[in-house]
Symmetry: C2
Amino acid sequence: MSSAVRRSTILEVARLAGISKTSVSRYFGDERERLSPTLQDRIAQAASTLDYQPNQMARGLKGGRSKLIGMLVADIRNPFSVAITHGVEQACRQYGYSLLVCNTDNDSEQERQHLDLLGAYQVAGLVVNATGSPEAQLQTFISHGTPVVLLDREISNVDAEVVGLDNQLAIDSALDHLSAQGYQAVLYVSEAPEQSSTRQRRLACFNEGAQQRALSHATLLLSSDTNTRQALSHFLAAHPQHACAVLCGNGNVTLTITRLFQQLGLPLGQFGLMGIDELDWCDLVPPGITTLAQPTDAIGKTALHCLRHRITPQTTPPPTTLSFAPTLIARGSTRR
Amino acid sequence: MSSAVRRSTILEVARLAGISKTSVSRYFGDERERLSPTLQDRIAQAASTLDYQPNQMARGLKGGRSKLIGMLVADIRNPFSVAITHGVEQACRQYGYSLLVCNTDNDSEQERQHLDLLGAYQVAGLVVNATGSPEAQLQTFISHGTPVVLLDREISNVDAEVVGLDNQLAIDSALDHLSAQGYQAVLYVSEAPEQSSTRQRRLACFNEGAQQRALSHATLLLSSDTNTRQALSHFLAAHPQHACAVLCGNGNVTLTITRLFQQLGLPLGQFGLMGIDELDWCDLVPPGITTLAQPTDAIGKTALHCLRHRITPQTTPPPTTLSFAPTLIARGSTRR
DNA sequence: ATACAAAATGGAACCGTTCCCATTCCGCGA
DNA sequence: TCGCGGAATGGGAACGGTTCCATTTTGTAT
């Protein structure tokens, strides 16, 4: 059993270099220029001999703030969430932060626990893709001076920016595309909207937009597969004289509905299919599924940008865009 | 500008309850039973009044160890990695750890940096899906008493368990299935094997297994799309008298090759296609793509299990299985 | 009642930093 | 030569916990 060698400390470096720990601290903090070249060399030398690295725990304790960014993700297995996380992580690294990723699996109890923990780690900021409505907890963070930014889902009574897709624009683009392609009846399928402001907004925009464009339309909430199948068949049967299309509210829905199309033997294109969120496989299911891609990297980076602006307002300009435009990727599933 | 309210400290709780901070520390540590019921009540009362939560930074500093588990992921956008991460994260939560996820994007420089940082955070353990061969750094962790477990990819000279798929078994299952389905010529496609012991092992097992089964075979390393397309066509042309199949070394390869099949107009099934790693869309590309699914949750959980065993050997039994069997999901792409 | 062990509680040092001061050093004008 | 100001450096008190050890309280057998 290899009995743990301790990591070396600032004091050991100072001793080896024959100087005070204050100077070593300055060297590794951001005050290197205050030190004479001689000292700098001595420190560099000693530090590399001892393989020294400042202890972040001690730093965090002393400074009252760590170099950690907490991120709450509602469903880490959703490719969209992963893509955003990737963007946030990249930005973190660029600015010297590390990312503490917490997956809530869409469970508000887990969300609560994770938030408690993140508080205990004194995170410098919080990126939240909420599951429930942890308003109170988030407000606590904010009142403790920890900035919060909301991803995709908005929460009332929380003083934080919301970064995400421009839902109005997205739905409009989708409807424009569908009607340009000659579809006259559109079914919008969404997951349960209660917990998610985004889902609610997209639903509302859809209803309004479809009405404006004089499209026959209906909406459907995903529940069990059987019910969904019936509802889908029913919608198609109800519009025999029209060209019908289905618009999927997010990637999960697209997956479910595509399966259903196959089970029901509905030929893609003749029956339109379009989804919000681009997925790896959308070009693989013949003749390809039309999607609205979200600029995930930009969204992730902007989220961190917001936090940085709140952490150090003087050095960082506020982000300009919080609502991002989707990119239409037209494929065969909306070509009649 | 809301001037930060400070979080309350153990001392404040102690004062409010009229007792010493030692007792409060005991209450929040794992020595609650040493306290009289009266005291426990007083503490609970005071703590909830002040909304107190122990500061993990201070804890980590004093104890020389945090309740953080570091995880290094080579490519966070790979669904397989995500699935494993999900398993690790769940297990972490169960045992009171938080997960510091670091994505290296297959870049060894990033890997190095992230490892440095994780060290600075005094992580309690490290789950590593390596990109390069950070042997020295990992050994440093181990000699500092921080246990390491390797995910999927093995690294020589590092004293750590390797958790992952039983590659021999996987390749054997694949070849058995393919030959049972009547394919006589098999092309194995892999990504660059230099950096990954798993890829090397699968390649070796494939060559050996194909030979034993008297299959015509060849291997192909993924590079540019054009080259891959040519190589694929060439392989098929070289075996006109045989039924040909392609075996994909991981999910990325499956994606690439499936695209290629479509571009080349190769009918799935007539030309066999099979992949290691199950993906969301494998049942969506008609007639479905046969895969070997990895038990990702089990792998993730086992990884953490290994760490826990090394952290507290007395309370946790050593994990029994480190190499996991895949599950064959047979679909139309291997049905002639 | 007395003695004594066990249980309950508290005091204070320490973990590795940062940062406020105080101190030392050096060059330069009077 | 002296005095002075600014730059370079160091001493030591926090930060918020944990933990060793000492002390007080309680229970129990004599």
